[in-house]
């Protein structure tokens, strides 16, 4: 069953917390992964890999760099989830 926007943000919050140790409540749609959440380029790869598993999506390397904010990632997953 496809995840809703809320479920995706909550899932991403859990993933970001697990990988970068950022409090889950800080993970909001308008937050930038690198600038606001301290997720660097390599942690971002780990976030993407974890999100792929969790939401059953494929996020190729070339698309990863366009996912600047939590909102970008949420929208991408909403559109592409299987």
């Amino acid at each position: 069953m496809a995840a809703t926007q809320e479920e995706i943000v909550a899932g991403l919050a859990e993933i970001v917390n697990e990988i970068a140790g950022i409090p889950a409540e800080d993970v909001q749609l308008d937050k930038s992964f690198t600038d606001d959440l301290d997720v660097d380029s390599l942690s971002m790869v780990e976030v993407v890999v974890a999100a792929e598993e969790r939401f059953d999506v494929k996020i190729p390397d070339e698309d990863v760099k366009n996912l600047k904010t939590v909102g970008d990632a949420t929208e991408y997953i909403l559109k592409h989830q299987g």
């Binding site: 660097d40 380029s41 390599l42 790869v45 780990e46 993407v48 890999v49 390397d61 990863v64």
Partner: protein
Amino acid sequence: MSKIKPSKGAPYARIVGVGGYRPTRVVPNEVILEKIDSSDEWIRSRSGIETRHWASPEETVAAMSIEASGKAIADAGIDARQIGAVVVSTVSHFSQTPAIATEIADKLGTDKAAAFDISAGCAGFGYGLTLAKGMIVEGSAEYVLVIGVERLSDLTDLEDRATAFLFGDGAGAVVVGPSREPAIGPTVWGSEGDKAETIKQTVPWDTYAAEGHTKFPAITQEGQAVFRWAVFEMAKVAQQALDAAGITPDELDVFIPHQANVRIIDSMVKTLKLPEHVTVARDIRTTGNTSAASIPLAMERLLATGEAKSGDTALVIGFGAGLVYAATVVTLP
């Protein structure tokens, strides 16, 4: 049909000695920063690397191999003449013919041991170990010397900020010999040639020569693609090697992954859910990525510092250019 007498091998094989050689020159990040726009902080946070060793002209592939092997043979307590085969894994020995293994076998004083080179990038140690185990169990050698040796500084583009800080030089060697108990588990290995382009030499030698390139060939890579493959796929391979050996994370004492990036190592430790008591090799900090040499070098250091001890159960996994990988569980010498 005439009857052929079969060879007779040992029931099992084990690593009986390990040795390493690190070049004298220690190169801190400050030296790397002379040629690229970066920072010590960035290099440490993205790779874990603080210093690496670079070989001098005298510290050749053969010279470093002989030093490391001498220590491994002494550690094993055998005579070089008992060595039946010498397997050298390297991508940075610049004369393809003859194999460098023959010179090493000769200088070490082996009795005409079979000797050859293999090319399996950063999985070279696991590939060599698997060959060695096969030879011992099959009976074509009593002891096999497996060497991983690299002078990657010769293949580094110091102006490429994506790779300049990563690579180092050194040699690591193990002696593999007969055992009454299983001490090297099943190898989980393979190749993914569809990803051959992700780590490669910038220009092949013939093109380099023919077109008169001014820039010497170097190793280049798609860092993010390789990182993703390593953290995602290699954790699975490591798990498969544990399962194949029938070892649970609780029974494991030591984890020695290829030292490519401390971030890959940390991620694997998390994914594999390795318990606190497992000692994890993070030799990368002071050694950089030495490709085929990294696992035996890290193994030697853990044993020398007392962080690991003889008889410990260790998971080893190598992965890199090819892409290729090899993982297995071993009893430490």
